[in-house]
Amino acid sequence: MKTRLGHAKTAAIGAALLMVTSACSSGGGFGAGGSAPSGGGTSTGPLTVLIGSSGPAETKAVTAAAAAFTKQTGIKVTVTAAQNLTQQLAQGFAANSAPDVFYLDPVSFQSYAEKGALYAYADQISNPADFYPALKSAFTYNNTFTCVPKDWSTLGLAINESDWTAAGLTDADIPTTWSQLESVAKKLSTGGRAGLVLAPDHTGVDDFIYQNGGTLLSDDKKSAAFDSSQNVQAVSFVKTLLTSGAAKFPAALSAGWNGEAFGENKAAMTIVGNWLVGTMSSDYPSVKYKVVTLPSGPSGTKATLSFTNCWGIPASDSRRDEAVKLVDYLSSAEQQMTFAKEFGVMPSRESDAAAWTREFPSETAFLQGSPYAHADLAIAGGTQTISNYDSLVAQLASSDPKTLLSTVQTNFEALIKQNG
C-alpha cells in the first residue's frame, strides 16, 4: 500500500513537473519569437513559397519555375499551394514563421504594409519601371513601390457572338459609349435572357465611376470621394440599366456569378476580367464569344479596373536577399510569358505586351485597357468595409444611388480615421 501510494506521489510530482515544463515551453516559444531579431521566414532549409493557386496548372507551373531557379542558383525552394492564403499568411506572421515569398492581394498588401511587415524590395528587381503603372500604384505604400506584381487582369466587355448576330448587330454596333451600351443591351434582352450581366459587387460599378471621371480613394488612401456627383451619376446609370431590364445581376438570372450567366447564355454580354477565358474554355467550350474594350463615359473618358497580386516578402525575413533573387527570377519577362502560356494570366511587364498579343490575339482587349486601368479598390483593414460596399451594390436595383454612396463614404471615412 505504502509503496503504491509512493509511486503515485512520484507520478503526481512528475505530472505536475510536466505541466510546468509544458507551460514553460509554450511561454518560451513565444519569448523566443519575440526576442529573435529575424522573426519572419525560415532560417534554414529551402525557401518557402506560399501561393494562392487557381488550380493544378498554376501550382505545377510555379513549382517548375522554382525548380529551374534552384538549378540555376543552387537555392532550394519549396512551393506550397495554400488552402486559404489570407488565413495561412496571418497565422505565419503571428507565429513569426511567415513564408519567405507569398502571393499578396492589394487589400492585404495595404494592411501588412501599414504594419511595416513587408520588405520593400521592388527597386532591387531588374527593370522595375517595366511594370504597368496601375500595378505599381497598387503596390506602392507611402510613395515606395514595395513588392512587384506577379501578373494581372483587367475588365473587358465579353459578347456572345451568336446572340449578337441573331439580334441583327454587326461589328459596327460594338458599343463605344454608355448610350450605345444601353441600346445594344436592350436589343439583346429577349425572353428570359438579359442583354448584359454585371458583377454584383463594387467591381460592377467602379469601372462606370472611373469612366464618368469620378474617383474613389486618393492614392495615399487618406481621403475618400465616394459620394461625388460624378459617382452618383455613374451609379445611377447602372441602376437605370438594372431597372430597365437591359442589365441584370447574376442572382436575378439564377447564376452564381456573371461568367456562369454568360456561359449558360442567360446573358448576351458581360463585363468581366481575364478569368472568364479559363471558365469558357473548360465549362462552355461551344459558346462563341469575343472580348472588346469597355465603352467610354459621357465625356469620352475610357477606364477599366485592374486586379493583381504581388510577390510579398516579410520585412523581418532573415533570407530576404535570396527571396528577392527568387522573385526577380519569377517576375522576369521571360518567366511571365511561360506562366501566361501555362495558366492564362496576363504578364505584369510592358515588355511582354507584343509577345502576349501574338500568343493570345483574342484576348488583346484586356491588354488594350492597360493605359487607362485603375487599380481595384484597396485600403488597409478594408476587407469588411469593401465587402459592405459589395453588399450594397448587390441591392442597387432597389436602392437609392446617392444614399448608397454616402453610406459607403461614411464607412470609408471612419476607416481612414481609424487608420490614422
Binding site: A12, A15, A16, S108, P250, S254, Q384
Partner: protein
C-alpha cells in the same frame, strides 16, 4: 474506481480518527488520496489548462490590446488599450457595430429555428425508434444518425450543389411549376417576404426610424434570409441525429412499468407523452437544449464553407465575424472582443434557459 474502493475502505478509519480527536492535517491515508486524485485528473487538467484556459487568457489579453497580428502578442508589440475594441463594437455607430448587430440578428433567427426544430425532430425520431415493435430498427437508427457522423464539410458541399441556382432543388421546384430562388444569393428575409405576400413592402415609419444598437426594428424583424434558411435546414438535419441518440438512451431508461401503469390509468398516447414521458425526460431535454443553444450560437463551419457571410451579410454569425475581423481584416483585438461578447451572450442565454426549465413541481 480504485479511489472509490479506497474511500469506502478508509471510512471506518476516518470515523475512528474523528472519535480520537485531532490529528495533524495532510497526513494519513486521506491526504495521500488527494495527491492520487490530482494524479488521476492530471491528464485532463493538463489538457484543459494548456488548450483551454491558457488560450482563453491569451485571447482575453488580445481583446484589450492593439496587437497587429505580427509576432508575439506578449512580446512588447502589443499595448494595452483598455476597452477600446469593445467600445468600437458596442457604442460607436460604425460598420463594426453594424456588422456585429447584423450577425447577432442572423444568429438569433438561426437559434430560434434550429434549437426547437432539431429538438422536436430528435424527440420524434427517438420516440418512433423506441417503439418495441418496429421492423428494421437498427437500419433506421443508423440512417438517422448518419448525417451526424458525416463531416460538416462534405454535407455543406453537397448542399451547395443541391441549392445552386440550377441545382437539384430548383430543378424539382421547376418540374412542380414553382420558380425556386437563387438560394445562396438571396438576402431577402423570410418575415419580410411573408409581409410582402400581404402587400407590405416598405416598412412603417415606426419600425424604419427607430431601432436598437443602430439597427432599425424593421431590420431586426427581417427573419432569416433565404440563404440562412438553407443553412438552418442543413443544421437541423445534421444535428437531430445526435440528439435523437441522447433521447433514445433516456427513453430506454424509463421503465416499461411506468407506461403500463399509465395505460392502466386510462391515459391516451398523447397524455402519456405529455404527462409521463416528457417530465421524465426533463434532464435530457435540458441537456439537449443547452447543447443545442451553445452549438447554435457558435455556428461557424457551415458559414465558412457555404456562404462566407454573403449575401449582403445575411449569413454572418458572431463566430464567423470574429474570424473575418481577425484573419481577413487584421483587427485582432476587435476579433477577440467579438468572441468574448459571444461568450457573454451564450452564458446569459444558458442561465436564462436554466431558469425557464427549472423544476417547478416542488411548489405545487
Amino acid at each position: 474506481m480504485a479511489a472509490q474502493i479506497e474511500a469506502t475502505a478508509a471510512r471506518p478509519a476516518a470515523s475512528a480518527r474523528r472519535a480520537r480527536g485531532r490529528r495533524p492535517r495532510g497526513g494519513g491515508i486521506r491526504g495521500r488520496e488527494a495527491a492520487a486524485g490530482w494524479l488521476f485528473t492530471a491528464p485532463a487538467v493538463l489538457m484543459i489548462v494548456v488548450f483551454l484556459v491558457v488560450p482563453i487568457l491569451m485571447a482575453a489579453w488580445v481583446s484589450v490590446s492593439d496587437w497587429s497580428g505580427i509576432g508575439n502578442p506578449f512580446g512588447g508589440g502589443a499595448h494595452y488599450v483598455g476597452t477600446r475594441n469593445y467600445s468600437a463594437l458596442l457604442t460607436q455607430g460604425g460598420l463594426a457595430r453594424q456588422q456585429l448587430v447584423q450577425s447577432i440578428t442572423n444568429n438569433f433567427y438561426y437559434v430560434l429555428l434550429v434549437v426547437p426544430l432539431q429538438t422536436v425532430l430528435a424527440l420524434f425520431l427517438a420516440v418512433a425508434l423506441n417503439r418495441r415493435r418496429l421492423a428494421g430498427r437498427g437500419f433506421f437508427r443508423t440512417a438517422y444518425y448518419f448525417p451526424s457522423v458525416t463531416s460538416t464539410v462534405a454535407i455543406s458541399i453537397v448542399f451547395l450543389f443541391l441549392f445552386s441556382g440550377s441545382g437539384v432543388v430548383n430543378t424539382i421546384l421547376g418540374d412542380l411549376g414553382a420558380n425556386g430562388p437563387t438560394w445562396f444569393a438571396d438576402p431577402n428575409g423570410l418575415i419580410h417576404l411573408l409581409l410582402g405576400v400581404f402587400g407590405v413592402h416598405t416598412p412603417p415609419a415606426a419600425l424604419a426610424n427607430h431601432g436598437l444598437l443602430g439597427q432599425s426594428w424593421w431590420d431586426w424583424l427581417s427573419g432569416p434570409s433565404i440563404a440562412m434558411t438553407v443553412i438552418i435546414v442543413l443544421s437541423i438535419w445534421t444535428t437531430s441525429g445526435t440528439f435523437m441518440l441522447i433521447f433514445l438512451a433516456a427513453l430506454q431508461n424509463i421503465p416499461a412499468e411506468v407506461e403500463e401503469a399509465a395505460i392502466m390509468d386510462g391515459t391516451n398516447a398523447w397524455q402519456r407523452m405529455r404527462r409521463v414521458t416528457l417530465p421524465m425526460l426533463r434532464p435530457t431535454l435540458f441537456l439537449v437544449l443547452t447543447l443545442g443553444l451553445i452549438g447554435c450560437w457558435q455556428v461557424f463551419d457551415q458559414v465558412y464553407i457555404m456562404s462566407q457571410g454573403n449575401p449582403s451579410g445575411t449569413t454572418l454569425t458572431p463566430a464567423y465575424l470574429s474570424y473575418l475581423t481577425s484573419f481577413g481584416n487584421q483587427q485582432w483585438g476587435e476579433g477577440a472582443a467579438i468572441s468574448f461578447l459571444l461568450f457573454a451572450i451564450i452564458v446569459v442565454l444558458t442561465v436564462l434557459q436554466r431558469f425557464l426549465l427549472r423544476e417547478r413541481d416542488a411548489g405545487r
